[in-house]
């Protein structure tokens, strides 16, 4: 088994303007996602949603502190899941079920050191 980080990139302005119904729907989708991971032969190790990029502070070179995210993009990192999967195809099958209606996800293998 290998670990994969599924990074969720979405247009966060869409969340700012979403109705409470839509927000509730998305929350339910995330719950359904988490419940369905093992059916793919993978395991959910963790995951979190992040506060919007407006709350981000960047530090460069260990000293230069600036307001805002490290990279300014329309679709920003808004959360992640960490999964254990036997191969990339399984990780991708899981990634396809991650709710990300305002953007998409990126799947990255986690580096192992030995």
């Amino acid at each position: 088994m290998s670990q994969y980080l599924i990074l969720i990139y979405e247009d966060e302005t869409r969340y700012e303007t979403a109705s409470p119904e839509v927000t509730a729907e998305i929350t339910a989708e995330h719950e359904a996602f988490a419940a369905g991971v093992e059916a793919h032969g993978a395991k959910l190790l963790g995951g979190e949603a992040l506060q919007p990029t407006g709350t981000a502070t960047s530090v460069r070179g260990g000293s230069e502190v600036t307001d805002g995210p490290f990279v300014e993009t329309k679709e920003a990192l808004g959360g992640y899941y960490l999964v254990d999967a036997p191969d990339l195809d399984t990780a991708l099958a899981v990634a396809r079920t991650v709710p990300a209606r305002f953007g998409g996800v990126e799947v990255r293998p986690v580096m192992t050191f030995d």
Partner: protein
Amino acid sequence: MSDPAGASAVAAAVADAHRREWAFVLAATVRVTRDLDVAEECVQEAFAAALTDWRRSGVPTRPGAWLTTAARRRALNVVRHRGVESRYLPLLVEEETLPGPGDALDDEGAPIPDDRLRLVVTCCHPALDRPAQVALTLRLLCGLSTAEVARAFLVSEPTMAARITRAKKKIAVARIPYRVPPAAELPERVDAVLSVVHLLFTTGHTTPVGDELVRRDLVERSVELCRMLRRLLPRDPAVAGLLALLLLTDARRETRTAPDGRLLLLEEQDRARWDRAAIAEGVSLVREALRARPPSRYALQAAIAAVHAESPRWEDTDWREVVALYDVLVRLWPSPVVALNRAVAVGFASGPAAGLAALDALSAEPQLAGYGYLPAARADLLRRLGRVAEAREAYTEALLLTQNAVERAFLEGRLRGTGG
């Protein structure tokens, strides 16, 4: 085993085995090593050993089996020496698969899962970008050296080496599985494989840059790859359609240029010299491929090629049938390039004015900006309408966008013909 053979006969036999059996031998060896690089080394060594061994013992009756045994024996040694401490083992995930619908039959008539199918879907995995898919396919399925792959795609050898290394690293690190995908995913994956083979063919059929019109090696490699897929997936209509398209298109190869190297249009080609065997095979494959609902884009393109191939003379071409096939193609597989070809066919079915109207509807297509065939097609329709000044302008524009010497010479000739 036959009698000991002469050096040139052995060299020819090894070259032939390299062309035919490379993918088979490599795929069978990857099973042992689970590591593409080690497998490649072992297979290369096996081919090198064949050059000397076959001189002594004669060319074996089944060169592929001999090479597979030799390569796998080397691979087992490497794996044993490397031992369990290797952190790269296993790099490739392999599961014991059950025979699938597309599997070939072994000597006893039992289905065997073919390693080559695993290799080709791995090379064309959607997690790899298209240039990487193409490079890996040429390297691992065709056995081309990095230098040869670099030459085929007009990039420097270090660039190609880096591209191949990066792709192999991704296969290993991201754990792209070495297996035939489940039936539900197979059509999508086969589609990616067919796109790569088609791209190889079109790159060879009309080389984008250079002095020759056709890159024979690329065309032949892609036809062989497609034949291999046909053996592995005998019931897949898209595979049948692509093979038909390649055969019907390539049947005209020898007549596309005059002895002096000049480009010859379809209407000028000597149809008696078209490859009749390839056409017959292509036509029978088209019939099979068109039975699928909906037909694949390759089947429709092949059907169009078949109309030309079966027409005894240019004047007899059934342009209405060609346009009708393009209509279906545009509907099922909308693409500005397909629409451009359709407009050209309309120009023959209903006259140059109708063709020009269809073509002008495409002038705003961003995908066709910088596409040399658009002004070239426009120039031809304008020339046929006697609008000489505009035709000259369009030929000049097409010339700016064409880097193939044979095509440039053709366009320059047309430009002179219109008094430019």
